[in-house]
């Protein structure tokens, strides 16, 4: 699958180049107007970020786009292969997988001239972990020793320390990190933007920073008009290998995906990474090889409320299995999503690669459509609790209503009943999440996972470990927890991945959630630009974009 994607990629670039030369004069008029002021500025679709633009406070893709442009951490993930590589880190070493020594590379600077030192990291991480600063991503620092002191779990508790005791600055370029447990994959998690360094200016004048964030990435913010656009220009002080191939990026807020698509067609927008679902069928013919449909680290699953008597318990595993086998994933992904989603075969994502733990045999029969067997399993288990299956999801984005209807159709057809499965659409994401957190659902609900870093750990530990932050169905299996613990303490990544896969196999037995499909990254670009691709997080790889 991977190879095929890459091959079509090269083809894409070639075609785009041909198209550009073929109708160069024509496209020049349309595109030229959007690059007002700059020379080779790329305009890209954006949405208003949900949280303040602090590295540890951004957990959604719109704010993430900005962080990706203006910050770089110790580690980056290769935009093509998702493999973690050292970026600002010269080395991250440990003898016991618990006490780590980090050496920072020399000569990197923030866009305001400050050098990036070990202190830039330690200060940033202390800020992120401290509960007083209310950073939504502070849980990413939970493995560092002293986290419980700066971030007590009880509501209303005050921190008993202001700094993480596990972080120590040795000299300008070295710091040590003591973790509270062994964690062999820890260095590989450091590419997540929350681990980015912060300049002293962040602490000296916080309001000014929020007004116009300062970072050490390939771009710096030129101007930011809140709620409508952000102009970024090349950061001349950037020393990384992925220097921008364009002069800058203009992020434009679009209130409606359809408008962005219209603007893309009219040549006023260069890169759109959110095509409206209704246009997917036309997009391929409208855009031709300027349409991008690429694997991304997103999986959609249907989680069962194991806290509910009707669905929890070992004796209900066959019932849950029956639901999974009653869903015709192939038909749904093809008809509703035009093959921009791929039927899932495990609980991770193909982007992490087989070396990273992706294995399309783990789900096995459970993910195959088998109406006869499904009906038998459900009927033997005494049917659905209360005689009815209710699927819940928010419906404000992602065509969730459509697939829920289709899944219910598939289940009803399997059971040959009219209303065995019904849909419970929830108006907004905010409302949906509140109901999930308060454990209000008594039937399966949508559970989407967009990876934070491309490791199998990120797909399993936060969602299925006992008491983990996204374990919304309250799945708990001692064996699963033990395997994850063993994996974390493993000597190297390869050994860890094997243990994780063993843990994942337990999911196929217990069925706490059923994999539905892997969600691809979808994008389109104008004929004014080339070399547009999405990284494994389905964010455009902006620095590589060329303006023709």
């Amino acid at each position: 699958m991977r190879r095929a994607t890459r091959a079509s990629w090269t083809a894409c670039v070639v075609c785009a180049a041909l198209a550009a030369t073929g109708c160069g004069s024509d496209s020049g008029d349309g595109g030229g107007s959007s690059g007002d002021g700059g020379d080779d500025i790329v305009t890209a679709q954006w949405g208003d970020p949900q949280n303040p633009l602090e590295p540890a406070n951004v957990n959604e893709v719109q704010g993430g786009k900005v962080l990706k442009l203006i910050t770089r951490g110790l580690v980056v993930y290769d935009p093509e292969t998702a493999e973690p590589q050292n970026m600002l880190a010269e080395s991250i070493e440990s003898d016991d997988q618990q006490n780590w020594t980090v050496k920072v590379k020399k000569g990197h600077r923030f866009s305001n001239g400050e050098p990036v030192t070990s202190k830039s990291f330690v200060d940033a991480w202390n800020y992120a972990a401290n509960i007083k600063n209310q950073q939504v991503n502070s849980s990413f620092f939970r493995y560092i020793d002293g986290y419980d002191e700066v971030h007590p779990t009880d509501a209303g508790a005050q921190p008993s320390a202001q700094k993480l005791s596990g972080l120590k600055v040795v000299d300008d370029r070295t710091f040590t990190v003591k973790l509270s447990q062994k964690l062999s994959i820890w260095p590989d998690t450091l590419g997540y933007p929350a681990f980015a360094p912060l300049p002293q200016a962040f602490f000296d004048n916080h309001d000014a920073y929020l007004d116009k964030p300062i970072g050490n990435g390939p771009y710096k913010i030129d101007s930011y008009s809140k709620g409508s656009s952000m102009k970024l220009v090349r950061n001349e002080k950037y020393k990384g290998d992925d220097k921008p191939q364009n002069d800058g990026i203009e992020l434009k807020v679009y209130t409606d995906q359809n408008t962005a698509y219209t603007d893309l067609q009219a040549g006023n927008l260069d890169v759109s990474d959110e095509l409206p679902a209704g246009q997917l069928a036309n997009a391929e013919s409208d855009l031709g090889d300027r349409f991008i449909n690429q694997e991304a680290g997103i999986i959609q699953t249907l989680a069962f409320p194991l806290y509910d008597k009707g669905w929890g318990g070992d004796d209900k595993a066959d019932l849950r299995r029956g639901v999974s086998m009653a869903i015709d994933r192939e038909a749904i992904t093809e008809q509703i999503y035009n093959d921009t989603r791929i039927p899932a075969k495990d609980w991770t994502s193909p982007v992490i690669g087989e070396k990273g733990g992706f294995d399309d045999t783990i789900c096995g029969d459970l993910c195959e459509y088998d109406p006869k067997q499904a009906r038998k399993l459900i009927e033997d288990a005494g049917g659905f609790p209360g005689g009815r299956l209710t699927i819940s999801s928010n419906v404000d984005t992602g065509s969730h209503k459509e697939w829920m209807d289709a899944v219910c159709n598939s289940i009803n057809k399997t059971l040959d009943k009219e209303n065995a499965c019904v849909v419970n659409p929830v108006g907004t994401f905010a409302d949906f999440r509140s109901q999930v957190v308060d454990r209000e659902f008594t039937g399966p609900f949508r559970s989407g996972w967009q990876m934070d870093y491309p490791l199998i750990e990120n797909f399993l530990a936060p969602t299925y470990y006992t008491g983990a932050s996204s374990n919304d169905g309250e799945y708990s299996n001692k064996k699963f927890d033990d395997l994850v613990d063993q994996a974390n303490a493993a000597e190297d990544t390869a050994a860890a991945v094997e243990k994780y896969k063993d843990a994942e196999r337990l999911l196929a037995e217990d069925v706490p959630a059923i994999p539905l499909w892997y969600q691809n990254g979808i994008a389109g670009h104008s004929d004014r630009v080339s070399d547009v691709m999405l990284d494994p997080f389905s964010v455009p790889n902006y620095p590589a974009i060329r303006v023709d």
Binding site: T153, S225, N268
Partner: protein, 307 residues
């Protein structure tokens, strides 16, 4: 007249307090916004509690309302959840929406009233029938259809205008959105004016004016139109408020980051400070527009006096 205006202004205070409380209550009823801030991750209770405390979400509703109103009177509209002061958002959004609404009202007044007078004076003839038919069509087509169709034709197919408005939203780029926004109301204005003019054209004072030998133009503008405008002014006054708050469909189609967009975003994120702040200003706009209409009655028709 002065006393009347003061009395009306004083009456606005309870209306203002009542509406803002209703809005506050409704946004609150949408549920707890904190869970959504953490995305697909469960919020850790300590951070969530801290955020709730900072936003006063842990206090009873009436106390939140009192605290919020207290802040408003000192000019502090609070912050959206992404840290942007609501006042900043308003400073960006209101001028754009006001420009859009002004253009739209201008179209309604000039084109709507002119068409109405023409067809009202030629009642039953071809022009009149044509206007009636066209306005009927316009009224029955939803705004988003006209919006998308005009955007596609003028913006993409023929390339006369940019399909989306840039973030500065200058006047010239707002012309097409304003036409789309105004179309339905324009049709209503035309029909209202037409009926009113047609009725008054047979009134005694018009016959007197004609008998006096006044020029036709003066009869139409000074006597006929002035007396026929009262229902139209009522409609336009209420419409100003509608155009500002209800421009959300048009604003989304043409990617205008105005009041409608901010409100929509605020509701989606259950962001009480944004929604209540914007609606509060909208309420003021409605109240003032209504007052303006009432005062205009007296100007148009000397028989109406306010003591």
């Amino acid at each position: 007249m002065g006393r009347y205006v003061i009395r009306r202004l004083l009456q606005m205070i309870p209306v203002f307090i009542g509406t803002t409380f209703l809005i506050f209550f409704m946004v609150y009823a949408l549920g707890d916004p904190v869970a959504a801030m953490f995305g697909d991750r469960a919020p850790d209770p300590a951070t969530a509690a801290q955020i709730r405390r900072d936003l006063n979400l842990d206090k009873p509703l009436w106390q939140q309302y009192v605290l919020y109103m207290g802040n408003i009177f000192t000019g502090d509209f609070g912050r959206a959840f992404n840290g942007q002061p609501v006042l900043d958002l308003m400073r960006n959004a209101w001028p754009i929406t006001v420009r859009l609404a002004l253009l739209a009202v201008l179209f309604e007044m000039v084109i709507g009233v002119a068409l109405g007078v023409v067809s009202g004076l030629r009642r039953g003839r071809a022009v009149d029938t044509g206007v009636l038919f066209v306005t009927l069509v316009v009224i029955s087509v939803p705004t988003f259809v006209t919006g998308y169709v005009l955007q596609y034709l003028l913006g993409v197919k023929w390339g006369w205008v940019k399909p989306a408005v840039s973030s500065e939203a200058p006047w010239n780029e707002l012309v097409l959105p304003a036409v789309v926004l105004a179309l339905v109301s324009l049709a209503y204005t035309t029909r209202l004016t037409r009926t009113s003019v047609a009725e008054n054209a047979r009134a005694d004072y018009v016959r007197t004016a004609v008998a006096k030998g006044l020029p036709r133009r003066r009869i139409t503008v000074r006597h006929l139109l002035r007396n026929s405008l009262i229902p139209v002014v009522t409609f336009l006054g209420i419409d100003i408020g509608n155009l500002m708050g209800g421009a959300i469909v048009t604003e989304r189609i043409f990617n205008i980051q105005g009041v409608g967009y901010q409100l929509w975003q605020g509701v989606l994120r259950q962001n009480a400070p944004t929604v209540v702040g914007f609606v509060t200003v909208l309420v003021i706009v409605y109240l003032l527009a209504n007052l303006l209409v009432d005062v205009l009655y007296a100007v148009l028709d000397p028989r109406i006096r306010y003591a």
